[in-house]
Symmetry: C2
Subunit: 339 residues, 2 copies
């Protein structure tokens, strides 16, 4: 059975398409008997109106775009979860795109979403995206934009973030409070704002507690993943710095470090304490279980859509909208990888 | 800057919309000078043609729908990854929906996709979906459907699956070959085809190796998750069945079991061997690392889109298309949770 159209119904009944459309929408200037004939024919043909057809008056498509760096990722998939659940409640469909941290891909994807005429876009900025002209372009087409997690200070739009500096400070403080004196940091890539902020939080915690900051104790984990964590841990052991604590920027990196220490018979937390970040599921499953900072992904997704929805509604009504920045709480979770 | 339309360009230049459209598409019956004027004006206004507007001739929207039970899920997110990467290559956008294993939600989502007029749909069936009338309905609207992972035998469409029976057989055989004599099974929900097949594979492996099948050694894990694995392991210990091996239907359930045994000082694999399924990342990160069966999620996603694309192309050309079932390979990965 092919796609049923208004035209088909009109032809079958020998009336105009306009009359069919009006009849289905219950317009008062169509007779009751005509309405009944039309509805019966529509039912017989199993006609399903396209509620997503761009509303000619409001110009809405009830579809939004979502760009995340990685989908096989506990945190980002939690955000997606929060977004699609909220979008569903409001009758919106979500188009998902993965940038793989590539500026080039992200730029292309923004362009696709502009052409698709989505009603709004939510995104976490790719690591490699320094230039944000593509985001300004999106906004120049009057498409509401909400950024979450990795945001750009140079774009005026709503943002949902955590206080990365404070969170990293508290993570480092937890290590200090548990007795650590020489704390290394497995940091993220140099560009992303949240990576910079977590590094600064770590640094400030050391300073505030009278511990010297030593840049040779900072290890770069470009991909902040398990392999990076392993590499950094191996390097740290090679460097023989006598470190007694590590604050790793992600749970995956911390997990890689723990794996190396387990293999080498180095006891965690007795010989060296490890602090992760983001509270992925696996942080509770590994041995020792990983102390970490909870990062509310689902909540972030939920709030991202809610804010986007507010802005899309305001745009539809033609009322001005002031972008908001929402800062979600984080908290330290002590498990067995710290004393 | 509001959305630029062909109408605007036409008005600005004092020509018809048809001429503008033809000029942008380089029709030969439009003069060179008009084409230049139109292109210049379009550029000046930053006009971006909506390449996703339903092509009136072909009726394509270059958008497809994807329904998965859960997005915060290593396997399903790997499938999503494979799908969106492939879709991007072919210039398609992907709408993502999450059914949460609910038949009601899945039914509603299929309806949304019909109304959205997507060009095709890919999905893994929700656990609670016994009735498949909603899928027949989708097909009655001539929308190509590809099912993956959890499929329905009663729907005639392309399918990408693994040989669950063979995979489970090999998993159980691995336990038997390593010396296990009394093997329990943490099985999945009673409905889904793959859950039934994995149970049957386990059973056959026992039979083929002269080990008795004992239904009291089969523990139901409705959600096949970590908590279910913990619960089943605690029950198994309470039942005092002297089991020396467990084949768990998912890595998450196996991880839950291992956590319980670690807590109780029961040695894995010395006292009891554990076999998981799906090769999630965490299976290599836990201690002991989990022996499992690799389930090629990314490949499954990639092939799902490729098959859907073939069918969409055939439909566009008006040529018949024969649904295909693709069976992907799996293999046993031995780690430290088995001898």
């Amino acid at each position: 059975m092919r796609e049923v159209t208004l035209k088909q119904i009109a032809e079958n009944l020998g009336i105009s398409i306009t009359t069919v459309s009006k009849a289905l929408k219950n317009y008062s200037d169509v007779s009751k008997s005509t309405k009944e004939r039309v509805k019966e024919e529509a039912k017989r043909l199993n006609y399903k109106p396209n509620v997503f057809a761009v509303n000619l008056r409001t110009k809405e498509s009830k579809t939004v775009g979502l760009i995340i760096p990685e989908v096989v990722h506990h945190f980002f998939s939690s955000v997606v979860n929060g977004i699609i659940e909220q979008a569903e409640k409001k009758g919106y469909l979500v188009i998902i795109l993965q940038s793989n941290e590539s500026y080039k891909l992200e730029k292309k994807q923004i362009d696709l979403l502009i052409r698709k005429r989505v009603d709004g876009v939510m995104m976490s900025l790719a690591n490699k995206s320094i230039d944000i002209a593509h985001l300004k372009e999106l906004q120049s087409h009057d498409i509401p934009l909400v950024m979450f997690d990795k945001i750009s200070k140079m774009v005026n739009c709503s943002k949902i973030i955590i206080n990365d500096r404070k969170a990293a400070y508290e993570a480092t403080k937890h290590l200090i409070d548990s007795g650590c004196k020489k704390i290394a940091h497995f940091r993220g890539a140099l560009q992303p704002q949240n990576s910079i902020d977590r590094f600064l939080g770590y640094k400030k915690a050391l300073e505030d507690h009278g511990l010297p900051y030593d840049s040779s104790l900072v290890y770069l984990c470009e991909n902040v993943d398990y392999e990076d964590g392993r590499r950094a841990a191996l390097q740290l052991l090679k460097d023989k710095k006598d470190v007694d604590g590590i604050f790793a920027i992600t749970d995956m990196a911390a997990t890689g470090a723990i794996a190396v220490f387990n293999e080498k018979g180095i006891k965690v937390p007795d010989d060296i304490s490890i602090m992760g970040f983001s509270n992925w599921f696996l942080s509770q499953a590994i041995t020792p279980s990983l102390s970490t900072v909870d990062q509310p992904g689902f909540e972030m997704g939920k709030k991202s859509f809610k804010l986007l929805y507010k802005e899309m509604k305001a745009k539809k009504k033609g009322v001005p909208f002031e972008p908001k920045t929402v800062v979600l709480d984080t908290y330290v979770i002590k498990r067995n990888s710290t004393k």
